[in-house]
């Protein structure tokens, strides 16, 4: 007897599928298509093959890619280190820790634009807190404009990114730490393990999957970060803070070279897809391992 196919579940998927096709698939396909054209403000659009992809590597895009990865590497690494330290401190049994947990949130809660504007004034040489403090402590001879020089502007954008991104890392890792059974710490303490030894041999191994997950997610967010650099430096001075996302925006939207901008966007998509693939692979591995343990 032939089994009758029940179409009803598939029918239920149609709205979701239509939504995904409309807001994800169609723009993606359109971006790919545009990347092979010379689309601009002009009304005529011609297909130009791989010309846009060849041209972006003839420009200084390779330099932009390297800069993006350096920016991302330092941003993510510092956020993870500080987030882990923050999580340990927030997890410590000290009076008023609930208050500290609330106090760590503002950088994450405050709208990014407002937070970044605040930092732009802090970096100001004449009126900014950092320059003023540096002068009072004798570290600076006079006012120093952190956003005026390539190296200091690059570091300043990373510092701001770390300030905004660390609270989320800390809270995520705090949640992971709180899921570690207390018995493990008690057993280690009974065996005479020091505080640092307990952290190194109990805490870190057990939150390692969470750190790896957060590292990948943070890498994706940092790679895609736009507002921080745009508000602070618009990619300057002389391109020293221009990352892939800034370069793509300038090309595609500020200069209205839609075709070239789309090609750059596709390059970003390639890199982000690699991160996403890594993330999925990690999730699958963790799921399998946790499944074996249960």
């Amino acid at each position: 007897m032939q089994r009758k196919i029940d179409y009803f579940p598939y029918l239920m998927l149609v709205p979701a599928l239509a939504l995904v096709m409309t807001i994800v698939a169609w723009p993606l396909i359109e971006t790919f298509r545009l990347s092979f054209t010379n689309a601009s403000m002009r009304r005529t659009v011609d297909y130009v093959g791989f010309k846009n992809y060849i041209e972006i590597f003839e420009d200084d895009f390779a330099e932009v890619i390297v800069r993006t990865f350096i920016w991302m590497f330092f941003g993510v690494t510092i956020k993870l280190v500080m987030g882990t330290l923050g999580a340990v401190l927030l997890n410590a049994a000290v009076p008023g820790r609930s208050l500290f947990r609330v106090l760590v949130m503002p950088p994450w809660i405050v709208p990014i634009a407002i937070g970044v504007f605040m930092w732009s004034w802090m970096y100001n040489g004449q009126f900014g807190m950092i320059s003023g403090l540096g002068q009072r402590l004798g570290l600076l001879d006079g006012p120093f404009e952190f956003l005026a020089y390539g190296s200091s502007a690059f570091i300043a954008t990373i510092v701001t990114d770390v300030w905004i991104g660390t609270p989320l890392v800390a809270l995520y890792l705090l949640a992971a730490m709180q899921s570690i059974p207390k018995e493990l710490y008690e057993a280690a303490w009974t065996d005479g393990a020091s505080r640092f030894y307990r952290f190194r041999r109990v805490t870190l191994p057990l939150i390692a999957p969470s750190i790896a997950t957060m590292a990948l997610l943070s890498a994706i967010w940092t790679f895609n970060s736009f507002e921080i650099i745009w508000i602070l430096t618009e990619g300057g001075p002389r391109g020293s803070t221009t990352t892939m996302i800034i370069d793509t925006y300038k090309t595609g939207l500020a200069r209205f070279r839609y075709g070239e901008g789309a090609a750059r966007a596709v390059m970003i998509l390639v890199f982000l897809s690699a991160f996403a693939a890594l993330y999925v692979a990690l999730l699958v591995r963790l799921t399998r391992r946790n499944g074996a343990q249960s």
């Binding site: 601009s40 956003l147 005026a148 020089y149 300057g236 001075p237 002389r238 300038k250 209205f256």
Partner: protein
């Protein structure tokens, strides 16, 4: 039966209302919605609507940061608004892309504008936008700081050499710095430079439409920036023009370049002078950058004629003059109102007498790319990473590529 009657009546009523409804005319205005200018413009629009009852103007205010991009993107995507307020700098891009329509002005209408103002909106023989807001620039200087530095310049700096000498003396003899320089990766970095470049006889694009950014006059102006930056505020690359204002108001810099609006923003500086932009050694005298914002009419809306009528009404001599006064802008047309303005407030004079000798924002198809190239040259010179000649040549090469030379 009753329900059928109600539905039929409603449908007929809706059809009737639809037939009578005025056609919407979408108008994007850059900037905020709560100024005296906006109120005045609203009154003028209401007058036009009263005379054209078939149309209703739907005004949308968008902050400057996104305004032009929104109008252009809508037009490029085939969904243009009828009228938009635009920096005249993008007119060439819009015109070459056939997104906007030209205005056929009579000789009388053309004659109501200064030739230098027309150059900001005219490409070839056609005018692509009608000037809506206008600014010229002048040098603001703090007389008390000049005196404290022991400078004998009662009339203030008149030449590049005066500015360098004054900046040096102020840096050495007071706690303040000399000329405030804006060099951030922002449009007014190029604007500030163009004021000085025009006063030194330089051009970005010459009369034949060829790039001339590596001319001796431009190199000389870049050299001036390099020399004077030694006595400027720390880190000019972190500053746009707006950030220089508080420095001038606090007496931390002795000079800076600003528009007419700066007259009312002197802060603690009680004794300020306002001079024409000092002349460079190779220039013919004082000059300034002329910046206009325009109203443009987009193609493909089906209401182009009405849109043009609205723009012509808003920018007519009388209405525009009123808008200029309310907006606090340099008068676009030189009328009796202008003479009255100078008579009632002589600080307007440097902003107005420089109009005939002023130069326009260069009209290049890829305006943003042109701006980036010039800003990089300025930043490179100030940071000491390239010489003025190298910076000018690198920028000129890029500009020639953009200009299709």
């Amino acid at each position: 039966m009753k329900l059928r009657h109600i539905l039929a009546t409603t449908a007929l009523f809706a059809l009737g209302t639809g037939a009578q409804a005025a056609t919407e005319l979408k108008f994007i205005n850059c900037g905020g919605s709560d100024s005296d200018f906006v109120t005045t413009q609203g009154e003028h629009i209401a007058e036009w609507e009263a005379a054209n009852p078939d149309y209703k103007v739907a005004l949308e205010f968008i902050p400057w940061g996104q305004c032009q991009e929104k109008s252009i993107t809508l037009a490029a995507a085939g969904n243009p608004v009828a009228v938009s307020y635009m920096g005249s700098r993008v007119l060439k891009q819009l015109a070459d892309s056939e997104l906007i329509r030209p205005f056929n002005l009579t000789d009388e209408e053309l004659g109501s504008y200064s030739e230098s103002v027309l150059r900001t909106v005219r490409i070839g023989d056609q005018v692509w936008g009608l000037p809506r807001a206008f600014s010229t620039k002048a040098l603001f200087w703090n007389k008390d700081l000049f005196e404290a530095a022991g400078l004998d310049m009662p009339e203030g700096p008149k030449t590049f050499a005066d500015v360098i000498a004054a900046s040096k003396a102020i840096d050495e003899n007071t706690d303040a710095k000399g000329l405030g320089i804006a060099a951030a990766s922002f449009d007014n970095t190029m604007h500030q430079f163009l004021n000085w470049m025009y006063s030194n006889g330089g051009e970005v694009v010459d009369a034949d439409g060829k790039v001339a950014f590596d001319s001796p006059e431009v190199v000389e102006t870049l050299q001036f920036f390099k020399d004077v930056s030694a006595y400027a505020q720390e880190g000019p690359i972190a500053y746009d023009r707006a950030k220089l204002e508080p420095l001038f108001q606090e007496g931390q810099i002795a000079m800076y370049v600003s528009g007419g609006w700066g007259r009312g923003r002197l802060g603690n500086v009680e004794n300020a002078g306002i001079n024409l932009i000092p002349a460079g050694p190779s220039g013919d005298g004082h000059s300034t950058l002329l910046i206009t914002d325009s109203l443009v009419v987009f193609e493909g809306t089906g209401v182009e004629e009405a849109a043009e009528s609205l723009v012509r009404y808003l920018t007519s001599v009388e209405k525009q003059s009123e808008a200029d006064r309310k907006g606090g802008w340099t008068p676009i047309r030189q009328t009796t109102d202008t003479e009255e303005l100078i008579a009632s407030d002589p600080t307007w004079e440097p902003f107005i007498v420089s109009i005939p000798t002023g130069g326009p924002e260069p009209l290049m198809y890829e305006y943003a790319a042109m701006q980036d190239a010039i800003n990089e040259a300025i930043q490179g010179v100030i940071l000491g990473e390239v010489s003025p000649a190298e910076a000018a040549k690198a920028a000129a090469d890029e500009l020639r590529e953009l200009n299709g030379e």
